[in-house]
Amino acid sequence: MKNFFLLFIIVVLVVLLINIQQNIEKSFNYPFKPVTTLQIKEATFVNFWGVLLGLRRLSADLAWIDVLQYYGTHFEEDEHEDGKHHHEGHRHIQWGEYKELLSHCQVVIRLDPYFKYAYLYGAGALAFNHERFDQAIELLEEGVANNPEYWRFHLYLGAIVARQKGEYQKVIPLLEQVVFAPETPMMLRSILAQIYEKQGNYHKARLVWEYILSTATEEHYIKRAKSHLEKLNNI
């Protein structure tokens, strides 16, 4: 008799569970694409197990560390002290080609399509450091598709297209609108500061370098900001 009562309770709970599940699914949309449809060029063992164990963000973080290991953190070109020629906005590329940079970034953003910083950093590096504008645009367009509410991607797209056309005057106002946003990579801030310097707009350059100095956590950005501010003070 007791067991029949328990069985009855189980049946009631099952009906209740189905009802609850249907109610949850009325509003809940799983925010990620199925793993089987992910187009990742080189999915690693870590990515696979991360997704399987419900640790997508953590997998994306590990993939992100992989991007940084591939690309390095001290990638940026500083002033040409070797006397090499460069003109305004044109950055002489001294480092490697990093042909796989796009696919490395794609691993990150496909594991976590809401990792905005990864889009911005990847696109910034591809466009401003390597002049691979099409790849940068491809990355940002994926960002727009995955994060339609994030309007800053459109400004970056505009800045990259302007840079591609060599219209440097259009690049600046677009970057100015995003430079102090929390998600903006330091790399893009320092690019804008250097453009200001090259234009002779030392006041704005100083503002950006001061901002970098007060917010950067990475040692090389702090060093660069200090050295640029020192130079600006001597002008």
Binding site: P31, R57, E218
Partner: protein, 255 residues
């Protein structure tokens, strides 16, 4: 109620005396602290990496504690024959099994809170603030633990080997995180029978993606809209079903 508390207390004391939980917790705290190293190589994404590694480690180690604990709860008692001593007392079987289950959950919850404390300490020491969503994520991690502990207990009642129970529970944990894929698969299938079977499997397996708030921290709420009350109700009812089945099985079991 008094008897239930006595069994809970017994389970708590048993686990406090055991070394395995201390080792797992200590190891988890070391891993959480090591997220500091990860954050050092993650550039500007330091706080994100600390939080993700921290929450991920808390979930993983809480899961390990839960499956090892749940599987040992009854199986070890049977192997050591100590269960005869307990069941020979005037204690109902459902009280015994519920007491063991609740005691196990309390010990895992305490461990989760200690690990979370460690994570918060690390965040504060790095100058990052606390966000309410971290606490919500921890709450939902515990909901997963409530479900998986019940499943582990049920499997250990069916199985005679601890390894088989642990392996089966582990696979259910994986499947639970894969329930969205199962739905996707069922939508793609054309065979009616296969589709039906996959659909049934979809309803049977626990939907851990409802509780995976730690993965949705940066996702706009408009995308996933999680109704917390429904999700908690799901956890209670699902674990209620599993525990009822466990009680049913335990009642019928002969020692």
């Amino acid at each position: 109620m008094k008897k239930l508390l006595a069994v809970c207390n017994y389970t708590l004391r048993e686990n406090i005396r055991g070394k395995i939980f201390y080792i797992i917790m200590l190891f988890a705290l070391v891993v959480i602290a090591s997220s500091f190293l990860f954050s050092k190589i993650s550039g500007e994404m330091e706080s994100r990496v600390i939080v993700d590694v921290g929450l991920g480690v808390i979930e993983l180690f809480a899961f390990l504690m839960a499956i090892f604990g749940a599987v040992r709860l009854i199986l070890q008692e049977i192997e050591n024959k100590t269960i005869y001593l307990i069941l020979s007392r005037p204690i109902k079987r459902y009280i015994y099994i519920l007491g063991r289950y609740i005691g196990m959950l309390v010990i895992v919850l305490v461990n989760i809170l200690i690990m979370f404390g460690g994570l918060l300490l690390l965040l504060v020491s790095k100058g990052y603030g606390f966000q309410l969503i971290y606490l919500e994520a921890i709450g939902l991690i515990f909901c997963k633990i409530i479900i998986i502990t019940a499943i582990g207990l049920l499997i250990s009642l069916v199985s005679t080997s601890a390894i088989t129970s642990i392996t089966a529970t582990f696979f259910i944990w994986l499947l639970g995180h894969f329930s969205h894929e199962i739905k996707f698969l069922s939508d793609k299938l054309t065979n009616v029978f296969a589709k039906g079977a996959v659909k049934i499997a979809y309803y049977i397996i626990p939907h851990f993606e409802y509780f995976n708030l730690k993965d949705y921290i940066n996702v706009p709420v408009s995308v996933y809209t999680l109704n917390m009350l429904w999700v908690i109700a799901y956890c209670i009812v699902y674990s209620g079903i599993i525990m009822s089945l466990s009680i049913l099985l335990f009642r019928r079991r002969e020692f």
